[in-house]
């Protein structure tokens, strides 16, 4: 029986050989948009191979939505072309800033959770949505710092940005867990606040524990039990969502990576919900 809610894996170079020779039965892949922005040469050849067999969704790391810099329109042009080329049903990026005054720090950076900053984010997201013209989801970060000028919790900020911009969530359950441990808040309370009908997709991943007990989002380990338990709670609250495993370092075979993603089925109890998600149409594309 075809499953309604799909399970995908992040498409990464070390897995190309295995994927493009064995063509495993994978529901969908997620690409890091920046890796294919040029739409040329070897990256395009590999993108074409993936597109010949699999649905793709796009996940970006450089939209720099939280920055006081203007949106980079040349970058957005390329994203739009790539979205059109791949036929991705939706596009996601992060609730963060990545640079300022034209300098790119190539990291997903946090900022104080204030109403003004939420409005700032929402305005940028609206511009992106108007321009890109496919559903857009914003992803919560793994955070290693909290700020004294914050006026609200991370989840209140996240929800406010989604509400003000009209965009969707790209909910990273591992990030919820990592931030909850690092900042000392309840991850369940975070999940309870999510408007599940607006969730495009959920990420799961592994992280690393530091000597002091804090966590770093490394995507180089299996998903830990605590994150799977949280995933199950999210599933019970929501009634279902598409799931994507991110694995970015310390690679194992694609077969094993895919098997790790498939573990998600063990934490998907059958739950009946009456609501019809707002974003169901865009999510349906994968189904």
């Amino acid at each position: 029986m075809t499953q309604k809610w799909k399970i995908g894996v992040g498409l990464r170079v070390p897995h190309y050989g295995e994927i493009f020779s064995e063509w495993p039965d994978v529901d969908f892949f997620e690409i890091i948009s920046e890796n294919y922005l040029s739409l040329s040469g070897t990256p395009k050849k590999n993108l074409d191979k993936a597109l010949s067999k699999y649905p793709l969704v796009m996940h970006g790391v450089s939209m720099n939505l939280g920055s006081t810099d203007e949106l980079d329109t040349r970058y957005l042009d390329k994203i739009k072309k790539l979205a059109s080329y791949t036929g991705a049903p939706y596009l996601t990026d992060h609730l963060c800033w990545t640079g300022v005054d034209g300098v790119n720090y190539h990291d997903l950076l946090p900022m104080p959770y204030t109403r003004k900053n939420a409005v700032h984010f929402a305005e940028k997201i609206k511009q992106v949505q108007d321009y890109i013209n496919i559903p857009f989801g914003i992803e919560n970060l793994s955070s290693y710092a909290t700020f004294s000028s914050s006026e609200m919790t991370e989840w209140e900020f996240f929800n406010l940005v989604v509400e003000l911009s009209g965009c969707s969530y790209m909910l990273d359950i591992n990030n919820v867990y990592v931030s909850s441990v690092n900042a000392g808040f309840s991850p369940e309370e975070y999940l309870k606040s999510i408007k599940w009908e607006k969730v495009l997709q959920c990420h799961i991943a592994g992280h690393s524990k530091q000597d002091d007990g804090s966590l770093i989002d490394t995507h180089d380990n299996p998903v830990c039990d605590e994150v799977w338990q949280l995933y199950q709670k999210a599933w019970e609250m929501s009634g279902g969502f598409h799931t994507l495993l991110e694995w970015d370092a310390n690679f194992m075979s694609f077969k094993d990576t895919h098997a790790e993603a498939q573990k998600a089925r063990l934490y998907q109890p059958e739950v009946q919900h009456s609501f019809v998600p707002d974003s169901f149409k865009s999510r349906e594309v994968l189904i």
Binding site: G41, V103, A183
Partner: protein, 276 residues
């Protein structure tokens, strides 16, 4: 938080996370004393870390990410001078050329020229005492690796069943010319056998055309005269224009060589699919 305050916050945070490591103790260490004082006040204590420790996470992530991308993009350079020296070079280079691109892979685009300038060698730990010859060798190694990096995004050059030299052909932009004074290309192709150190690499000049064929990098040795002619064809935008200007760059003997071999070279280049 107003836009002005947010901008100030992002400047403080950005300056702090990009604070260079100190290499002076023989270990790469965060210089937390240089972190912005205001951002230290803004960052709160968490269950595990104080403000400085939290900022250190971002400081380390920033530099380790950049070190890795440069090591991966310049594997020969990494072998020749070792990661310790390369990380110091990267630190100096990134401070002089901070990334403005959303794509991290292009970070090292200006690294060859920066290497040649030599200012990065001041304060290296331990003092590497690179000579002018060493800097030129490292420049050529970095230039070669940038050709590799560039070719990743370029199309294959398809061999032709017969040579195409009609009209006034141009050299395809995906054919890259490379001149070296040391056998760096062969070292790049045998990375596993390269040992750290550049003093013992013997002088050996050669010229190459490098392009991608069937998704593999192909290398074609060029006679010096052929290399100069190709360079002029690329510079002036066509075979005829290249030939017109060739006299100013060739010696008398090279001119004679060009006259003898021109037809054969053009036939070969056309057959390899280098013309369009």
């Amino acid at each position: 938080m107003s836009q002005e305050k947010l901008h100030r916050f992002q400047n403080m945070f950005g300056n702090t996370l990009s604070t260079p490591f100190s290499f002076l103790t023989g270990e790469a260490t965060c210089q937390t004393e240089l972190y912005d004082e205001d951002i230290k006040t803004e960052v709160q204590m968490t269950p595990f870390k104080n403000a400085v420790q939290s900022l250190t996470v971002y400081n380390q992530q920033y530099w380790y990410r950049l070190f890795k991308i440069v090591q991966d993009s310049f594997p020969l350079l990494n072998k020749l001078i070792g990661p310790w020296q390369l990380n110091q070079l990267t630190t100096s280079y990134v401070k002089a050329h901070p990334s403005s691109s959303p794509v991290l892979d292009t970070l090292g685009a200006e690294l060859p020229e920066y290497i040649q300038m030599g200012s990065w060698t001041e304060g290296l730990y331990p003092d590497a005492a690179y000579t002018k010859r060493d800097l030129k060798l490292l420049y050529q190694a970095a230039e070669l690796e940038n050709i590799y990096n560039e070719l990743l995004y370029l199309a294959n050059v398809n061999e032709m069943s017969d040579s195409v030299v009609s009209g006034n052909p141009r050299i395809k932009p995906q054919v890259k010319l490379y001149a070296e004074n040391w056998p760096l290309l062969s070292l790049r192709n045998e990375l596993d056998q390269v040992k750290e150190g550049i003093k013992d690499i013997e002088y050996k000049q050669s010229h190459w055309a490098i392009c991608k064929q069937n998704n593999n990098i192909g290398f074609y040795h060029l006679a010096t005269t052929a290399y100069k002619l190709m360079k002029e064809i690329i510079r002036f935008g066509g075979l005829n224009e290249g030939i017109e200007h060739i006299e100013s760059v060739l010696s008398v003997s090279e001119l004679k060589e060009a006259e003898v071999h021109l037809e054969q070279w053009c036939y070969q280049w056309g057959k390899r699919g280098w013309f369009y």
